[in-house]
């Protein structure tokens, strides 16, 4: 596919795509912010705080999107033994984790005026919290080995296991929530959302996604260059050894 599966191909394609992505990202987020802050109305119950949603919801989406990218790339890395897929998985984890954290932080900020507390065991927030720990486990496992290839393979298996578990965890947390507190305080999904709120939300979601992909490309490119440097160093060590010990 466009030579994307090799590192050099990836760098070539990414150089073409990157500027467009960044432009799209700035335009979409700029427009989204304009609509979110000036055009869309304040909520009649929540007042101005409803605008936190325009950061909170895209962050939540990217938290889950990042994990899916990570799991799919991990699967590709395991099946086709493609080192580039491993790098994509590795690169997307910290970005996804950051957005998950942003989602939790904005959720907490939003929660203070709404629920009068910084943290409520809301089903959605709880699931995101667990997702954050899944990210932490993945990142920790990846960095726990001296051999980067080893870390990538172990982490890939973990990412797949986590991916299978995410729906189970989501379901169990929802179930747990309904058991303990049936009334949902936060309503923001479904057709209840007015178009004046939907427009900025969609703009922000697509802008954030562009940002995610653009940052991902930067990270993967850095990883490729780092791997190249390691390969060069190794071959130098090898060459020095070869001339020193004669064979």
């Amino acid at each position: 596919m466009l030579g994307l599966s090799t590192p050099s191909g990836f760098i070539k394609v990414s150089k073409l795509v990157s500027p467009w992505l960044w432009t799209a990202c700035v335009l979409l987020i700029g427009a989204g912010l304009y609509f979110a802050l000036f055009v869309s109305p304040a909520d009649y119950q929540q007042g101005q705080t409803v605008r936190i949603m325009y950061i909170h919801v895209p962050s939540a989406w990217l938290g889950m999107f990042g994990y899916s990218v990570m799991a799919l790339a991990s699967a590709a890395g395991l099946v086709w033994k493609n080192p580039l897929a491993d790098l994509v998985a590795k690169a997307s984890a910290p970005i996804g984790a950051s957005f998950t954290f942003l989602c939790l932080a904005t959720g907490s900020l939003w929660g203070k005026p709404m629920w009068g507390t910084w943290w409520a065991w809301d089903a959605r927030l709880t699931s995101m919290l667990i997702l954050l720990f899944l990210y932490f486990g993945y990142i920790a496992l990846q960095n726990a080995f001296d051999d980067p290839g080893r870390g990538a393979r172990a982490a890939a298996i973990l990412a797949l296991a986590g991916f299978v578990n995410v729906p189970v965890i989501k379901f169990s947390v929802d179930w747990w929530k309904t058991l303990h507190q049936p009334a949902s305080l936060m309503k923001m999904s479904g057709p209840a959302l007015h178009p004046s709120m939907l427009t900025p939300l969609l703009l922000m979601v697509s802008g954030f996604t562009c940002f995610f992909v653009a940052v991902l490309i930067v990270r993967v490119r850095t990883e490729i260059l780092a791997a190249k440097i390691r390969a060069l160093r190794l071959s130098e060590i090898h060459a020095a050894q070869g001339s020193g010990v004669a064979g």
Binding site: A140, A144, L158, A161
Partner: protein, 221 residues
């Protein structure tokens, strides 16, 4: 099949002769549960209210204690290489090791749980639910734990890392385990929770050994 029995027998024999971890695991379980009355006060109604959660959370932590040894010893002395070269699927051998692990940790925990439930003044209606959820839940813990133990082989700070990997995956078992006991105590039907626990076990039974075997193979490379 013969090989499966052979490896279970060997692991049990090892556990027996090495002065197994089971005693430590159960001691940890009992001790930690006993800490709770000191932490939250000895009032019977409070203890009764929190008893299912306390028992399950503690059992979860206790079952993790011996996990990092599950493959570590075999990894260090070269046994794991030979196990991987056995003319049978590595997944089968993983199931054997998990079975032995469950027999030496999950089963003792299950036996100790009702005694501790008495100490925490758990309502008598909850005992059957406690035992059944333990029976369905602890094998899942061993299975998921085996996957984690296989993943951290050869890693730096494997033990701490293991808990970070495994605990989030334990959450569904915890939720449904406690949920079932809570329902039983309130005199409600709890078959749904049991079915869910059983379903998770049935799903973990093929998937976790598959992941664990894959992790072991890459650890040996």
């Amino acid at each position: 099949m013969k090989r499966l029995i052979e490896i279970i027998r060997r692991d049990l024999r090892l556990a027996l002769r090495q002065g197994s971890d089971s005693v430590m695991v159960v001691t940890f379980f009992v001790l930690t549960v006993i800490l709770f009355p000191f932490g939250i006060g000895p009032e019977a109604n409070i203890l009764e209210r929190v008893s299912p959660g306390v028992l399950w959370v503690t059992a979860l932590l206790a079952s993790m204690l011996s996990l990092d040894r599950l493959f570590q010893a075999d990894y260090e002395d070269g046994s794991l290489e030979l196990l991987a070269l056995t003319p049978t699927a590595l997944e089968i051998l993983v199931i054997g090791k998990v079975a032995a692990h469950w027999l030496t940790t999950g089963l003792p925990l299950m036996i100790a749980a009702p005694v501790l439930a008495v100490l925490l003044h758990m309502n008598g209606d909850g005992f059957v639910a406690l035992l059944v959820t333990m029976l369905l839940g602890t094998p899942t813990l061993s299975l998921i734990g085996a996957m984690g133990a296989a993943l951290v082989l050869g890693a730096r700070r494997g033990g701490v890392l293991l808990s970070l990997l495994v605990l989030p995956l334990y959450i569904p078992v915890l939720i449904f385990g406690v949920g079932a006991i809570d329902s039983a105590v309130q005199g409600l039907d709890y078959s749904a929770q049991l079915l869910l626990l059983g379903g998770i076990l049935l799903a973990a039974l093929p998937l976790a050994p598959l992941a664990a075997a894959a992790a072991l193979r890459q650890a040996l490379e």
